[in-house]
Amino acid sequence: MNGRMGKDNFSSIINSPSDYARASREIEENDSLNKINIAFLSSYTSEVLNPYIVVELAKNGYKGSLYYAPFNQFEQEIYNPDSELYLFEPSVIIIHSRIEDTHQNLMMRFAKYSDDELIEISEDIINRHQKMLDGIRSKSDAKIIVINFGNSQLTEEYFISSPVIQSQQTYIQKLNNSLLELSKNITSCYVIDYQQLFAHIGLNNSIDPKLFYMARIPFNSSSQITFGKIIARMIYVIFRVPAKCIVLDLDNTLWGGVVGEDGISGIQLSDEYPGNIFKAFQRAILGLRDQGVILSIASKNNINDVLEVFEKHTDCLLKKSDFSSMQIHWENKASSIEKISKELNIGLDSIVFFDDNPAERDWVRAQLPDVKVVEVPKNPINYLKALHESKFFDSLIMTNEDRVRADIYQQEQQRKSDLFNSVSVDDFLRELKMKIKIGFSDDITITRIEQLLNKTNQFNLTTKRYSSSDIIKIISDGGKVLWLSSADRYGDNGIVGVAILIEIKHKIWIIDSMLLSCRVIGRKIETAFLAEIVEILKSESAYELYGQYLPTKKNHIVSDFYKKHSFKLTDKKNNFWKLNLNESDIIKPIFIQVSRND
């Protein structure tokens, strides 16, 4: 292999330390990957993880460049603004302080401590982490990954219930709970559950005493590989935009057999083998829906056969109402997926396709390269594993909006069918009984604001991507970060809009960013939002408001937004628009009820 390795060239054939070492060196020569700087602060020799992190990141298109601080140099690196850590300008900082290294007696002589001493130690450990994380946050915008605390290695005595050892496990569990809580209050801070990871690998199978005593390496080479994979997966998930929708095939995917041939009683879907495999898969799909993933179908079938299964098959957990879009006909699946994308108003790149038929997968891959296609294994028993390993639905932040998103899309289907029945669009909008609320970014709303800024592509005037630390910076520099939530007769949409206003000169403001989630496009909410923005600025006696439109592949829908709202073009090249606040007003649509979150 020469230097030309795209992300698809790294396959599972790399599996031994020697292969990883070679591959990681080849990646260093590769310039086609996105470079990412990662700093690793640890209480042991973490550098041995390097080839595994680098190779696993490359599989996802990243070229990881790592800085390993000398072991146990946490405070020295974190509190010194001129330390190697900050000179390295990391995008990710990993913190791994093992209790085994900092509190050896806590792991090996747990029984010697009184309850009071134990409380004191746990407070020390948590306070130290709090200070370290705060310290990093005050000096860097890097994403922080904290590794939690692992259990001590158990001997068989434990399983016949030694109360002392059990309380040690509980103690570590509590420490991890506290660590998780504190990480939630630090922006862009994520926890890797090392405790569960090593329970999953098996502590007894993950240690090589020789490596530990000779070189402070607390795991053997096979668990180094696993840990490296998890770290890389976390980094990948932090930076990518998660998929929104899964498009499922039916025959031999959601049930065994072909309903059109085998009939409703002939398909495999039950509590017995092999029907239980498909039933479990359906349950997992419902689990995705609970997480906010939108479900849809692309199947070559007779719709009546399918509806019969959904309505009458007692073991069919998925119901017609769980799907936001159903393309059941004999047209090709690429066009089905395009229709789903249009109908749900989501980009092709946020769609995942799951189909047991390799020909269909290849067709979709060729026709719609943006769609993410799961490489479905032949044996249905491995479907779930393939879905998890695809990483498409790994999610780090689960907001309330995510939880209800699938419901919202379903309501949207209802709204759309109403739209066709009602007399005029204005009538329809009036009937919607829309209410919007506008407020300023705070601790509770910032996560959702960050999420919208980073994944909204269509109704987005400038498509500027900001992290929550950027947002905090904007506010502390005097900018205004507004959110908009909306509700209507069909339900609550949650926060669906964001605007960022910046004062560029005394009493002259610019709309740095303004966006609306695609599920509320076409309802004149944007006009109400703009009117509210104007009102807020006027109350501070601003007299000019600028706006900019930065065209992308996807935001054509807003190209005439400023023109429509009587802004005047002032700079054609850069697409700047101006509104004189003393002369003009934005008229609020009367059918939207507006309130402020005070």
Partner: protein
Amino acid sequence: MIDDFKLKEVISNVLGIPTVEINNDSSPDSIEKWDSLSHLKLVMAIESEFNVELSPEDSMDMLSVKLIRIILQDALKK
């Protein structure tokens, strides 16, 4: 017998030097990249590639390609 080609490849992969530069007498003294951490990486890679477990003493003593071959040969017999 130990697969000499495989051994050289492992050393080349871990230390990042071409196989042609590796001979029987290669050691931490003659190869700059062969430092103490690389040495342990080499031990781990050899253990995994030849499916063998090496004692701490064996690991420490493997300080040239010739010694690696002798020690590995012994370990494989056990």
